[in-house]
Symmetry: C2
Subunit: 236 residues, 2 copies
């Protein structure tokens, strides 16, 4: 293990025992805080979903469409992670749902401690009505967020068609840690050399029972399957 | 500063002095190794370019097209960074150019020490003929690679149209550190809500003289400007 990112370091890296020790203690602290977050969320009567992807894979757009579909029946709250800007939280609030923006100021992932603060702010926003479903949108990064449990109940990884179908093999830890993979922007399949078979095969090698849903926020394709997944989480 | 990633940590992060000290010493070691790499590359008679972007923005495709254009007149070598797989180096070798694959085994960025090893392997591949131009393709990550000087002479950041025009504002350190920004996949502009004006404006706020080139590997648009940039680097 390396740094706060928790990356498994290659042998070529110059690292000393001190770094390894410090980082193990940081990761252990994150695991403890994540466990506490999960209890916190359950006491709120909610389930939480951690959304992980590259920048621009469509996490915020997915949330906008999901809120439109569920806002009348499910009490949703959103924690947004970004290095800078309040933009994503503003997009979510425009849909009538409470959203907390966590800006990391440079850090490449959310951690359980930041999310803990976010949960308290979200509770404040709820004004007593509470939440059923809390989405945590991680910093756009297909590597570092994979190592940090935030206290979520399930983890959803998005892979958009323009990124290419070789990504599960190249970012194995992230896909292996997913409970669901959403293949987004599938309306663009005609314009890209993207192989669904390659994704299915390589994701299957990493985690045989990994569920994949092909999705388009433009055409609406796959949204029934995505909402069914969410419904299963709500009734767990 | 945080970890090996060097991210500027938000105040909410639980970090102790020990972490900060360790990471400062790691980053200082990287700066020294990068300086040594730069001298090494100059002794080889070459210039080096560090390519940074999100996963799937088109770094390897850019290299394939660039090699096709220059292979007869410029001696090119490539160092490929990935967490796993030898695929990108294989794609480059298929174009008749020496390529070293560095797999980080989990780490989210290349560092100067890894690249130093790569330079030695690249020299071995050259069999005495040498290089004019060395491309270093970083791990697909728009955050962490920004903090690590690899010993390059210039840094090129790719942003693809499907990722969205809000990315400079959201990932300021990466764009601020760029010598050139390549806006890739611009043939897809008709299918996306992507604003060139937004990118120009926000990139300009970060770095007033930042050069932007709109590029399409499909249509060939912008390649003359990109090759002119490379030519300027070769004659520096």
């Amino acid at each position: 293990m390396c740094d706060t990112c928790g990356c498994h370091l290659h042998e070529h890296h110059h690292h000393n025992t001190k770094v390894v020790e410090v980082n193990q203690s940081l990761l252990a602290a994150n695991v403890r805080q994540a466990r506490s977050n999960r209890q916190h969320i359950e006491k709120m009567g909610a389930v939480a979903i951690n959304l992980i992807s590259s920048p621009g894979s469509g996490k915020t757009t997915l949330l906008e469409r999901t809120i439109e579909a569920l806002v009348d029946t499910v009490r949703i709250g959103v924690i947004e992670g970004d290095i800078e800007t309040e933009r994503d939280a503003e997009r979510i609030r425009a849909k009538g749902v409470p959203a907390v923006q966590l800006t990391t100021g440079g850090a490449c992932h959310l951690d359980a401690s930041l999310v803990h603060g976010g949960l308290h702010v979200l509770e404040h926003f709820a004004k007593g009505t509470g939440y059923d479903l809390i989405f945590i949108e991680n910093v756009g990064n297909l590597v570092c967020p994979a190592t940090f449990d935030l206290g979520e109940h399930s983890r959803v990884v998005l892979l958009s068609v323009p990124e290419g179908s070789d990504k599960p093999a190249k970012y194995p830890a992230t896909f292996k840690g997913a409970d669901l993979v959403l293949l987004t922007k599938v309306d663009l399949l005609p314009y890209f050399d993207f192989s669904m078979d390659e994704v299915r095969k390589e994701a299957g090698l990493l985690k045989p029972d990994l569920e994949l849903v092909a999705l388009s926020a433009t055409s609406g394709e796959g949204f029934d399957s995505w909402l069914a997944f969410l419904n299963k989480q709500l009734n767990r």
